[in-house]
């Protein structure tokens, strides 16, 4: 599903440049539940942004669903994002003036789906995350956990191949963290590839494979206890 070889990325800082990713090789197969661990500055967010087509890499190759990602313009990237990827952000990134159901339906709008149909589908997904009764509330009327569940529903509504989660529990307390992780597990159980970035061991433990990043390089890549249990 995701195939990365020799990936490099630098950011210019004034006259110098900051070398963030220094040659990453990573293969993620369909249906995997992978977490990327690393301290801040290790390059894990940069990796996710490149995988999510929100940013472009400098060197190396990146194949998404067998397609080589190269010289991507914004229009093509937008179409691919809409088709293959679902995003979950640490800060939720809901549109403040849209209700929960409208936020969830937005990716379907960009897919070109009719209003009635997309609102119905959005409602189904809200039900799935247990927020059907909150469908017509604005984001600022929801708790952090509820907001993140709305964001998860939004990420899933287009039935993407890969769900990318950037510190999905970073802004949540432990109870809501568990409920969000349970949701991600359910998604993965349905066969969706889930790619989580975190710096919390408890979160990483619940995924099936943990990739550790340090200073722009992969230092370990192992199957977790959960992953082994599932494999058996």
């Amino acid at each position: 599903m995701i195939k990365i070889e020799g990936l490099h990325k630098s950011y210019p800082i004034g006259k110098d440049s900051l070398h963030v990713l220094k040659g990453i090789d990573l293969h993620i197969k369909e249906g995997e539940f992978v977490s990327i661990m690393g301290s801040s500055g290790s390059g894990k967010s940069t990796l996710l942004n490149i995988v999510g087509l929100l940013d472009v890499h400098d060197e190396g190759t990146y194949h998404l669903n067998g397609q080589l990602i190269k010289n991507m313009n914004e229009k093509k990237a937008a179409i691919l994002r809409n088709k293959f990827l679902g995003f979950i952000f640490q800060s939720f990134n809901l549109i403040s003036y849209k209700t929960a159901v409208e936020n969830v339906a937005l990716p379907l709008y960009y897919k070109g789906m009719a209003r009635k149909e997309r609102l119905q589908i959005a409602l189904d997904y809200l039900e799935k995350v247990g927020l059907k009764d909150w469908a017509n509330h604005l984001p600022n009327e929801l708790s952090g956990g509820q907001k993140q569940r709305v964001a998860i529903a939004r990420a899933l509504v287009t039935k993407p191949k890969v769900v990318l989660a950037d510190e999905p529990t970073g802004a949540l307390d432990s109870t809501t963290t568990d409920s969000v992780m349970d949701l991600l597990k359910d998604i993965n159980d349905e066969g969706m590839t889930v790619f989580v970035i975190t710096h919390e061991e408890e979160v990483a433990e619940q995924t099936k494979r943990v990739v550790r990043l340090k200073d722009g390089l992969i230092i370990s890549d192992e199957i977790t206890a959960v992953g082994k249990a599932k494999a058996v």
Binding site: N49, G52, L54, D55, V56, E74, K75, A78, I79, R81, N82, K83, F87, F89, N93, L94, I95, Y97, K98, E102, L106, P107, Y109, Y110, K111, R115, R154, T158
Partner: protein
């Protein structure tokens, strides 16, 4: 290309960000309001100037005589110059093709009496063409005709207010009034836009007056309407030519304004035309400046608004929005706001102008101010275009920011 979903997005965005929408709308509405008022007031001034000459025909010319102020060919200063029928005949024969209307005038002041009501009025003895020269409007009956002149009939056309003085609300047509001791038949009642004084006058046939009062062929003044096909310059030249000819013919010094002069509306029209041209040029300059200020205002607001929404655009892009859809959404929203606000300003401006109406005519010479449809359409097009540009430039820039940078914006 009517995308209901797109409009829904836009209305939601406007509705949820009312202050922002109202602010940007206000700038445009205010600019257009000022623009409309400015143009309206100038058109009002223009109407006043045109109206100032409404009393007489636009193409009127008057040959006036008095006393010589310069000695000429052995003749003394202070000689009274008298126009006669032969002068009228000379002019109408000599310049026939340059003349549309022609009439002699004799001024008299007579007591006009009906039953117990009597008063002193200005009576003018004229030819039938005079109706058009003086822009006399016949309300009842008819004006003088050639037959009246030929038969030297004792008929009279009286002004609306003169009729009111003598007859009150009673009918006056076909009644006989006593003019300076003789009985005249009222054949018509007229009104005139030149004001109340004009409507307290009366007209009688020129020939009747010449027979009854002096039995001579004297006339006080000659009124002409030059051929409307003549350009203003040609009409002015015609007036000057006629003035020279008449002075020569009547042994008057070529520069003696006092003895004989031709008052030519063409000269006044030319002056007014030039004056209004300059005034319009100034207004177009100021009006365009106001519009430009409005456009810059909305551009500023749009730049701010788009900066504020950069994160939202990042989210939308992460969810699959193409740059063109973001630019389109912002531009459409801006065009909608500018057009609606502009229309509001325009409507308000037109409404205020209609309220002003003729109330400022007396003190400020502003009569019936209004804006022409051409200016309205032009301003609307400018508005739509400016809304388009004001939004397009910053939106295009925002839509091309990498989504990851946009998402980081706050």
């Amino acid at each position: 290309m009517f995308d209901l979903d797109r409009w829904r997005e836009i209305f939601q965005s406007i509705n949820k960000n009312r202050l922002r929408s109202v602010m940007s709308g206000f700038t445009v509405a205010f600019a257009i309001l000022l623009f409309t008022l400015l143009f309206g007031i100038v058109s009002g001034l223009s109407n006043s100037f045109k109206g100032a000459f409404a009393d007489d025909a636009q193409n009127a010319m008057f040959v006036r005589v008095w006393k010589t102020s310069k000695p000429y060919k052995g003749l003394q200063t202070g000689r009274t110059v008298q126009l006669k029928n032969k002068d009228y005949d000379y002019i109408t024969e000599e310049y026939g093709n340059k003349i549309q209307y022609k009439s002699s005038r004799i001024y008299k002041n007579f007591t006009i009496k009906y039953k117990n009501e009597a008063s002193n009025y200005s009576v003018m003895a004229v030819n039938p063409d005079h109706q058009y020269l003086e822009k006399t409007i016949i309300d009842e009956g008819r004006y003088l005709n050639e037959r009246d002149l030929k038969e030297k009939s004792k008929v009279i056309v009286i002004g609306r207010l003169l009729k009111k003085d003598l007859f009150g609300e009673r009918p006056a047509l076909r009644k006989r009034v006593n003019v300076n001791g003789s009985s005249y038949l009222v054949i018509g009642i007229f009104s005139d836009e030149g004001g109340d004084n004009e409507e307290r006058k009366a007209f009688i046939p020129l020939t009747t007056a010449q027979m009854m009062y002096g039995n001579n062929d004297y006339i006080s003044q000659i009124a002409l309407g030059y051929n409307p096909n003549l350009s203003l310059d040609a009409a002015v030249a015609f007036g000057n030519q006629m003035e020279r000819d008449l002075r020569k013919k009547m042994d008057i010094h070529p520069d003696d304004q006092s003895a004989l002069s031709v008052r030519n509306m063409a000269e006044a029209n030319k002056g007014v035309g030039q004056f209004m041209g300059v005034l319009y040029a100034i207004v177009i300059l100021i009006g365009s400046g106001t519009l430009v200020a409005g456009i810059i205002g909305i551009s500023n607001i749009m730049i701010f608004v788009i900066k504020e929404r950069t994160k939202e655009f990042g989210i939308r892009k992460a969810l699959g929005a193409k740059p063109v859809s973001i630019v389109g959404m912002v531009v459409q929203e801006s065009v909608l706001i500018t057009t609606l606000a502009g229309y509001l300003g325009l409507t308000l401006g037109t409404y205020i102008l209609s309220l002003i109406g003729n109330s400022l005519e007396e003190d400020y010479f502003i009569k019936d101010p209004s804006v022409s449809p051409g200016i309205v359409i032009g301003a609307t097009i400018v508005l739509i275009l400016s809304g388009l540009i004001a939004a397009y430039v910053p939106a295009k820039k925002a839509a091309n920011i990498k989504p990851i940078e946009a998402l980081r914006a706050d």
